[in-house]
Amino acid sequence: MTAAVRGASRTGTSRAGRTGSVTWMALPALVFFIAFGVLPLLGVLGLSFTRWDGIGAIHPAGFDSWRKVLVDPGLPHALYVTFLVMILSWLVQTPASILIGVFLASHARYRGVLAVLFFIPLLLSSAAIAVAYKALLDPNFGLGAGLQIGFLSQDWLGEDKLAVGVVVFIVSWQFIPFHSLIYQGAVRQIPRSMYEAAEIDGAGRIRQFWSVTLPQLKYTIVTSSTLMVVGSLTFFDLIFVLTAGGPGDATRVLALDMYKTGFQANLMGPASAIAVILVLVAFALAIILRRIGGGGAADSQLEGA
């Protein structure tokens, strides 16, 4: 008994020493997070209860901004567009990234060459991509008009549905390489012994993909989806340059709505309220995705194989 207690207390202190050191190693990051994340966020929360045109004095205004934002039909519309882009781009990106990741995970040399080529979009800035696509898709001077290809000379950015489609396409084109990279790494972590066992059981390559690869990628899918979903809330630069929220307000996502309200209409109060809503939505999504992942997204199944 006493030996056990002593033993426990001894391991207790040594563990305290270890966790202590780990905790304060997070401090620099924490300080930065508080200075550049939490404090501005509190500032925005405070601003959402004021009236301010960004130039003059700040006047307290109670819930005026919130009332204005919540009754504005622009808010549900912006939320709808945001979720539409989020869901569509997830649906396009996830299967494509998994397939490409699995493909690239093999060690064949030609695949390495392909992988290098394939990651190029990841190196370009969103603004540059948007400018390039805008020029390519121009209905009068773009690719379709230049090559006289009927299918390509559509009013890509001038019709509501097409414009949303183009945004989803470009986002996917830009980020599939990144997510493929994640899946490539994850696939390489799957022990060969599992495939060998599957082969002995008579599973073909497709069966192996469904029964071994995909289940083993579960937590990677959760991680990658979290990045996609939360990341899609911040699509701003691409859409701003490409369509500026247009045509009409067809691609006016929440982030763009916030920017236009704040910096073009000079309504910093309502813009801050939209920003707070944006943060809450991102928060909720991150929590939901963590729940779906079973809480222990950091667990590894490797040893259980």
Partner: protein, 448 residues
């Protein structure tokens, strides 16, 4: 034991470093603007800042004016920074709000200027103009309207008078065998003729939104005169629901429905000059645009302008409309204000710049050479013999002969109302709202 002491020391070290980091960050937040304000102030260095727009031909002329001033005043330098048109609108507003405004603020006057005045961000120049009446008296009196807020002058009119003009491609009209429109009815008749030949009747950079607005400005004026918008501007309740307003909006949508504008107009931006390219490449027959595009079409359009293929006219009449056909809209001038946050030395340099360099004879000649009319009295005598004589005389005649020279709506209104207006105009042109819905949502922001 040893590991613990070292880790404590490290802990302290890191806490200190982090504390310093926060301190630095705080400094960056609060003292940054001040230091840049006083640093630029530099009575010692004797320089002052000036932000203006890029794009030919204005950019080169603005830069030359600054260069001339700096050459004549080696001790008091002006440091110019350039921005693209639409980006500048946001940038300068943010900078003023953050206390980082340049000493000399370039702008469009009107509602934007009023928002600076309300926040006490720009210098009252009324007394300065009273003392320097020679500076004031050489400028177009009409240019001072948009520089005046509550009876006081807060900006110096500069650069050029810019009415909106209906341009047309003469070659395109020859292909169809038609004459330029004399009335709105003619416009509607021309639309199917051009479309049948595969030429878009009108070019339009609709993504920029204010490009669409120019159409409404003229339609409102030609149908009922300047009264309807004046009522909006004066904050009259439900002013957008005026039958004349609904009629103008309905006519607008009729033209859009008839494919009056180039395919894909809502994704074309004016900043890239793609709308002008459509006109000079003959893909579109006509374009309603500011007079400033003449210079860029002459530069970019090959021999389009020099070969005499560009036609221009004031906006045609509306059959049975009450508006005066001489009326025009656009920019009665551009405006230079002085930041009230600048130091006395900086303000002195800025005023010297206004009095001696802005719209100097040399600058005026450059504007005229670029096909524009500076807001200075008596330049009509300089127009004869210049290479764009016919255009310049038309421009001078339109500007000085206009019964009403209205300021562009988005510049005249407060930024808040202007943004709402542009949003609704974009939706109107996308046909996603009806004229009645347009009026209803615009009525809500009257008086803001």
């Amino acid at each position: 034991m040893d590991p613990i002491t070292t880790s404590r020391r490290t802990f302290l070290g890191i806490t200190l470093a982090a504390g310093a980091g926060v301190g630095l960050a705080a400094c960056g937040g609060t003292s940054g603007p001040q230091s840049s304000g006083t640093g630029g102030a530099g009575a010692a260095t004797g320089s002052t800042s000036y932000w203006y727009l890029t794009g030919p031909p204005g950019e080169g002329i603005r830069t030359n004016t600054v260069k001339r001033f700096n050459a004549a005043n080696p001790k008091t330098q002006i440091k110019g920074t350039t921005f693209q048109n639409d980006a500048y609108k946001t940038k300068v507003k943010t900078a003023i709000g953050a206390g980082q405004a340049p000493t000399i603020i370039w702008g469009w006057g009107g509602g934007g200027l009023k928002s600076y005045v309300d926040a006490n961000q720009v210098e009252d120049l009324t007394d300065w103009f009273a003392q320097n009446s020679a500076v004031k008296d050489r400028l177009f009196p009409s240019s001072f309207g948009a520089a005046t807020v509550g009876g006081k002058i807060y900006a110096m009119p500069c650069e050029t008078v810019q009415p909106i003009v209906l341009y047309y491609n003469k070659t395109a009209f020859e292909k169809v065998g038609a004459q330029p429109p004399q009335s709105w009815g003619d416009i509607m008749d021309l639309v199917p003729k051009f479309n049948a030949k595969g030429i878009a009747p009108f070019s339009l950079g609709g993504q920029s939104r204010w490009t669409n607005m120019m159409w409404l400005e003229f339609l409102f004026d030609r149908i009922s005169g300047p009264g309807v918008f004046q009522a909006v501007f004066d904050g009259e309740k439900n002013a957008w629901s005026n039958p004349a307003s609904i009629q103008a909006l309905t006519e607008m949508q009729k033209l859009i429905k008839a494919n009056g504008f180039i395919k894909g107009f809502s994704s074309i931006t004016a900043d890239s000059n793609a709308d002008q390219a459509l006109l000079y490449t003959g893909k579109a027959a006509m374009m309603l645009h500011g007079s400033w595009t003449y210079g860029s079409m002459a530069t970019d359009g090959g021999d389009f302008v020099s070969g005499g293929n560009l036609g221009y006219m004031n906006f045609p009449t509306f059959d049975g409309g009450k508006g005066d056909p001489s009326d025009t809209v656009g920019n009665p001038g551009q405006y230079l204000s002085i930041s009230s946050k600048a130091t006395a030395a900086e303000k002195a340099i800025a005023k010297k710049f206004f009095a001696t360099a802005v719209l100097s004879d040399a600058e005026n000649k450059e504007w005229i050479a670029a096909g524009a009319i500076p807001v200075v009295n008596g330049t009509d005598s300089l127009l004869t013999g210049s290479k764009d004589e016919a255009w310049l005389k038309f421009l001078y005649g339109t500007s000085s002969g206009a019964k009403v020279f209205a300021q562009s709506w988005d510049q005249a209104m407060s930024p808040t109302a202007a943004e709402e207006l542009l949003n609704n105009i974009a939706k109107l042109f996308q046909m996603s709202i009806s004229p009645q819905q347009f009026a209803d949502s615009m009525n809500k922001v009257i008086g803001t």
